[in-house]
């Protein structure tokens, strides 16, 4: 009964068409991502209709490549896992319907996966998950602290009340005249500058693990605007460094505080913003306060949207006996718990 389990993962929640084959929930056999970033760059952001159109063009090619690279055929697969939400509904629909068609055509079990569960399970592809654990999920649309007592059980202990951290990065980047997507540019500039500009940090009420970045974003925009009015110039390097320091300070402090309170054994960093060097190094530093608690940060390719993470999360659900039927639908507001 100890046979290897191979799961095909499919992810189309935003602007990457992705497919992957994962063995036993932790070993990547193949991981293919077709990014549409070049197409959306001209619009300064992801245009949902155009994202959906690209997904339809790419979907079978990407799945075929993932299966070819993995050297598997449909008869070798144990299940198909697909992102059911949250995300852009039109984009999600392509992956969900492709997954359903595959599951039907080849008699395979179908497992719908939550996108954020996927981001968290990207860590399983790097290190064994040790419970209880705390995951900080930071991306263009998410800023969440999630506590997990065991596999498949998620408790959101903190989330953003307004903008996601990645969203704030994009808006500030635009204000600084940086190209899309702005996050990596701010990260790069921040390392050249000094955090000399005083910007607020939204700690919210005592004991809250929620986040808020809209005040910070407005403060940056106001500071830039006021300086311009006075005919002064603010060095974008210093603004990037100051902004990043404020974001990272709040994220890291709250994460470590929660890790202490919940006595976790492991802290995971997940989501596209986990690629941010400033965040990575600050979290590594601050985690020194918690000797014995392991910090896991997946490599960049597993932090951004990919299908290996969906296959990894899907494998756990598959083992738990969770199945979706052919009526599975895309749910742009799918709740994690």
């Amino acid at each position: 009964m100890n046979e290897d389990v191979y799961v095909l993962g499919i992810e189309t929640s935003c602007d990457e068409t992705a497919a992957a084959v994962v063995k036993n929930g932790k070993e990547i056999v193949s991981n293919v991502v077709a990014s549409q970033m070049e197409s959306h760059r001209r619009f300064g952001g992801v245009v949902p209709e155009i994202a959906s159109r690209h997904h339809v063009e790419q979907i079978t090619l990407v799945i075929e490549e993932a299966m070819q690279r993995a050297g598997v055929s449909f008869s070798n697969l144990d299940a198909v896992a697909v992102t059911a939400g949250p995300g852009l509904v039109g984009a999600l629909l392509v992956g969900v319907n492709a997954a359903k068609a595959l599951a039907f055509a080849h008699g395979l079990p179908l497992v719908g996966v939550h996108h954020i569960a996927g981001h968290i399970y990207a860590n399983q592809l790097v290190a064994e998950m040790k419970f209880p654990l705390l995951a900080l999920v930071v991306s263009g649309g998410h800023t969440e602290l999630i506590y997990m007592e065991e596999h498949g059980k998620f408790t959101v202990i903190g989330e953003t009340r307004d903008d996601a951290a990645g969203e704030a990065y994009d808006k500030v980047a635009r204000a600084l005249g940086l190209p899309y997507p702005g996050g990596p540019h701010i990260d790069r500039l921040a390392h050249e500058g000094e955090p000399v500009i005083d910007l607020p940090r939204a700690w919210l009420e005592e004991g809250s693990y929620d986040f808020s970045f809209s005040g910070l974003k407005s403060a940056v925009l106001n500071t830039l605007h006021n300086a311009k009015q006075r005919g002064e110039e603010i060095d974008p390097k210093h603004m990037a460094a100051s902004f990043q320091e404020s974001v990272v300070d709040v994220l890291v402090t709250k994460t470590v505080q929660a890790a202490k309170q919940y006595r976790v054994r492991q802290v995971l960093l997940a989501g596209g913003v986990a690629a941010n060097r400033g965040l990575r190094s600050a979290l590594q530093d601050k985690m020194k306060e918690l000797p014995g608690v392991e910090l896991v940060i997946p490599p960049l390719s597993l932090c951004t949207d990919n299908a290996a993470m969906i296959a990894a999360a899907g494998t756990v659900l598959y083992w738990q006996g969770k199945r979706s039927d052919l009526a599975l639908n895309a749910n742009p507001g799918l709740p994690l718990v």
Binding site: V46, A105, E167, A330
Partner: protein, 246 residues
């Protein structure tokens, strides 16, 4: 030869199965419910009832648009994924042509239409010639008024076909008078069995390369192109979402 037909391009959902020269069954609904949740269960149910397994299929035929962008994508995604993964070809048929097929014994010209909002329609011009449906004017999006005027310049009777046809019957009557006929409700829904019969005669396409025929560019793209040509105005900024995961 076993052929599965799929049409989710507009509000009616249609699935049909043909085996040789026999239509084994078809499922048609005309309700405002989610195609994404209902198309695969309908396919599964029809094949099961007809006692046919997916690996017995020889061809997938899909209505490739125009219609609702999302609706068209659902059908095309299912069709191309089935075709590719089963190693069989795919054939596409215009969603308007499928609708026009309902006018089989009409002696004049056939005008299938879908409402495209703001007075615009997706339409084309078709006629049966010797039992074969011919496309006289290619599918397009056009102001209904302009289209009615254009049709009034020719002398034949016109059959309007489609769920949305009654919305425009008055307007067409203003231009064409008694020459306008509106298909009754029983002939207003695209028949997936007609889709399959039309698709049988179409060119077989490669599943990977198969894409919908949206007729229109995405709005943001059209505006971007206009701007590249220097035609865009300042007030013409496209609204876009920069959210990674809204």
């Amino acid at each position: 030869m076993k052929i599965l037909g799929i049409d989710t391009s507009n509000m009616p959902l249609g699935i049909a199965l043909m085996d040789g020269n026999v239509i084994k069954g078809e499922i048609i609904t005309n309700v405002k419910k989610d195609h994404s949740a209902r198309a695969m269960p309908a396919i599964e149910s029809l094949l099961r009832q007809c006692g046919i397994t997916p690996d017995e299929l020889d061809l997938i035929v899909v209505a490739k648009g125009p219609g609702s962008y999302t609706g068209v994508r659902i059908g095309v995604t299912i069709a191309k994924t089935l075709a590719w993964s089963l190693g069989i070809p795919i054939a596409g048929v215009s969603s308007l042509e499928v609708l026009a097929a309902n006018g089989r014994y009409f002696p004049g010209v056939i005008v299938p239409l879908f409402d495209a909002r703001r007075g615009q329609i997706y339409t084309g011009l078709y006629r049966y010639e010797g039992g074969v449906l011919r496309c006289l004017e290619e599918d397009r999006i056009v102001a209904a008024d302009e289209w009615a005027h254009q049709l009034s310049q020719q002398g034949e009777d016109v059959l309007l076909v489609g769920v949305d046809a009654p919305l425009y019957s008055e307007l067409f009557r203003n231009h064409l008078g008694e020459r306008v006929h509106v298909a009754p409700p029983s002939l207003a829904l695209p028949r997936p069995s007609e889709l399959v019969m039309l698709g049988k005669e179409k060119e077989r396409e490669n599943a990977h390369a198969f894409v919908p025929n949206y007729i229109r560019l995405a709005e943001a793209e059209a505006k971007w192109l206009a701007k590249q040509k220097g035609e865009g105005t300042d007030g013409d900024r496209c609204t876009i979402s920069s959210n990674d995961h809204p």
